[in-house]
């Protein structure tokens, strides 16, 4: 389904894009070159992304918005040509107090600066990077989003998505995750193990859509939002793993996976407290209600394990406080769960973002750090942004992790990253 939608999107983009160019639509965007080197694996990766977006004012409050990207990277090149967004937008249309978007949408929910647990309407492409650019990278979904402003400061938003789309995870990563989950009780040699994964997408259609509702507004010094999402996990969970051991020592794994249902009750807030000059408080809380999910493992046809992967409702959170003084910025977040953790795997982290901007705005050294509060493993990213001239930005950073290989963050490879971006 995902591939078919992408082809449809590609064709729509072609149909609209070329006449758009011919009509002289104004396009803006970025050209971004990235390169990284992983010290542990001596792996050198590189890629270039061209992103172009245009908004056509159709009059009477209606707009057509297109956001396309062409991406080349040396491996795991997820959809080289990507339709990021393509939608019809109504602003004060069709009614004065209503805004809407319909098409392929990327929506951002949540007030917190990093890894909001309520910002899960869009699936995401795979990335091992810990930078903010990677965090905001999303896969658009075919959907309609309508917001009704029933007062000057309060609104009610409805989201309707009739097709399911999942996170993009490369096959080798899925296989590694399966092997990792079995490692504790089944010794497997990766080189002698073959893995086949069959995923079943949930039955989402026009009558059984993914949907969400949110109301938001202001209360004193705070902006708050309360939301409810009814949908599915965006990454698959195995429900049956068949392990077949051959006489020659080889092992084959046949994995059946699905996407459990989930509902999320969310609270977002951002505001400031009188007397705490320069301090802004932001946070998102998500109370997740999962569909119970049982995982069974069979070895040579015999059941050896039945485990409950998802069972009870659980909390995820991103609570942050940021402080700005002159050119110095510090942001400290408490995270309960990262995007890859669900259910009993949820663990706490501290996420620190600091940067300082030079007086002329050209240099910005930064230090980002993630600390797992459950096992003490850590990732530190030191870097600097430099703006040599108008519309050009470069960034060089060094990432180093610490902790045991099996810890939450200790397994991440140390590396150096270079990015050059040009805006047009």
């Amino acid at each position: 389904m995902n591939r078919r939608l992408n082809i449809v999107g590609f064709l729509i983009a072609l149909v609209l894009g070329f006449p758009g160019l011919a009509l002289g639509l104004e396009w803006s965007g970025t050209v971004t070159g990235k390169a990284s080197y992983q010290f542990d694996t001596s792996d050198f990766d590189y890629g270039v992304t061209v992103n172009a977006l245009s908004t056509l004012d159709m009059g009477e409050g209606y707009y057509l918005h297109a956001d396309l990207s062409l991406k080349y990277q040396d491996e795991n090149n997820f959809r080289p040509f990507r339709l990021n967004e393509l939608y019809l937008q109504g602003s004060n249309a069709p009614w004065d107090r209503v805004d809407f978007k319909a098409g392929f949408l990327e929506l951002t929910w949540g007030a917190s600066d990093v890894l909001s647990p309520v910002d899960v309407l869009n699936p995401r492409p795979f990335s091992l990077s810990m930078d903010s650019e990677s965090f905001k990278d999303k896969i658009p979904v075919p959907a309609v989003d309508v917001e009704w402003y029933f007062s000057d400061t309060w609104s009610l938003e409805l989201f309707y998505q009739p097709y399911f789309m999942s996170n993009f995870v490369p096959s080798f990563v899925k296989e590694q995750m399966i092997l990792g989950s079995l490692a504790s009780f089944l010794p497997l040699v990766p080189e002698q193990t073959s893995v086949t994964i069959e995923e079943t997408a949930p039955a989402v259609d026009f009558l059984s859509p993914i949907w969400a509702v949110r109301t938001r507004g202001s209360v004193g010094n705070f902006d708050v939002a309360l939301s409810f999402q009814s949908g599915y996990y965006l990454s698959s969970f195995p429900y049956r793993i068949d392990v077949t051991q051959g006489e020659d020592g080889s092992t084959s794994l046949a994995v059946l996976s699905g996407y459990p249902r989930r509902s999320i009750l969310g609270l977002e807030f951002q505001g400031f407290i009188e007397g705490l000059e320069g301090v802004t408080v932001r946070g998102d809380l998500a109370w997740v209600f999962p569909e119970p999910w049982i995982q069974q493992i069979f070895v040579n046809g015999s059941p050896v394990s039945t485990a409950s992967i998802l069972d009870e409702p659980y909390w995820k959170a991103s609570l942050g406080i940021d402080y700005t003084h002159e050119n110095f910025y510090i942001n400290l977040n408490y995270l309960l769960g990262n995007p890859f953790e669900e259910g009993e795997n949820i663990s706490p982290y501290l996420y620190l973002v600091t940067n300082w901007e030079s007086e002329d705005g050209k240099w910005k050294p930064f230090w980002n750090s993630v600390l797992s509060l459950s096992d003490g493993s850590m990732v530190n990213i030191l870097g600097v942004e430099y703006k040599p001239k108008e519309n050009w930005t470069t960034s060089l950073s060094y990432s180093v992790s610490s902790g045991a290989p099996q810890s939450r963050l200790g397994g991440l490879s140390d590396g150096i990253f270079l990015e050059v971006k040009y805006s047009f």
Binding site: K136, G278, F424
Partner: protein, 256 residues
């Protein structure tokens, strides 16, 4: 001839004394009040303009902006400022509600609106020499202790001391046009009483009702050696705006 010279001298001196008496008759607070009366008044306003940013090495960058403002009463103004160019800041939009009661920044790349903290108001806005706070500033007797430093034939010179203890500035020295009652230049001094910034009016328009409106201003940061010149190219006044125009909803719109 000698009598004529004496007469003219006496007349000149007398005019000077009278003029001085007029000036002496005006306190600094009254000058500020008169300046306020002489400001062009509007309920709503739309300005399209151009900013030229020059750094300490003399390199210049151009930025186009569109600004909406509304007089909210009680000396408070709500304002929306959107950058139209260059590409790297296109559609970055600031919402300043009631002279800084609440400030929001919309960054299209992140598809979200951020509430800006108090001290962020002192940060520079998108690389200009202006701070967020400078955009919403007005110079009223309610916000400043003021003193008349002196005068000449053309100008008054005032000294203003911010009442807000959180202000970045120890004092402001303001040069006020005696005839039209607008400030020509303001020098901003830091807490150590060193000259930090200057705001100069480069082009002013006097309207039929005797009020004035700035058409070009220059804001210089002397510590950095940077300068921003803002030229207002198209001004529309008292335009109809919806009651909820100055809102986070508006700053996310594709076009303003």
């Amino acid at each position: 001839m000698k009598n004529l010279v004496v007469f003219l001298t006496v007349a000149f001196l007398l005019w000077g004394v009278l003029a001085g008496q007029v000036a002496l008759g005006l306190t600094a607070e009254e000058i500020l009040d008169t300046m306020k009366e002489k400001e062009a008044h509007f309920e709503t306003q739309r300005i399209q303009g151009k900013m030229v940013l020059t750094d300490s090495k003399g390199k210049s960058e151009n930025r186009e902006v569109v600004m909406y403002s509304k007089d909210e009463g009680d000396d408070k103004t709500s304002m929306i400022i959107r950058f139209l160019s260059p590409a790297e800041v296109k559609n970055v939009t600031l919402l300043n509600l009631k002279s800084g009661e609440k400030m929001y920044l919309y960054m299209p790349a992140f598809k979200k609106v951020r509430l800006i903290a108090g001290s962020s108001k002192k940060e520079k806005f998108a690389g200009t020499s202006f701070s967020y706070e400078d955009f919403g500033e007005s110079y009223n007797r309610e916000d400043y202790e003021s003193k008349l430093l002196g005068e000449d034939n053309a100008n008054y010179q005032l000294e203003l001391y911010p009442k807000d203890p959180e202000s970045d500035y120890a004092k402001l020295v303001m040069l006020v046009d005696k005839e039209k009652f607008y400030f020509k230049k303001i020098d901003f001094f830091d807490k150590d009483n060193n000259l930090w910034k200057t705001l100069e009016v480069l082009k002013v328009e006097e309207r039929e009702d005797g009020t004035t409106r700035f058409l070009e201003i220059a804001f210089s940061d002397l510590k950095e050696g940077s300068k921003t010149v803002f030229t207002m190219e198209k001004i529309e006044e008292n335009i109809p705006l919806a009651g909820d125009f100055f809102s986070v909803r508006t700053i996310q719109k594709p076009s303003l």
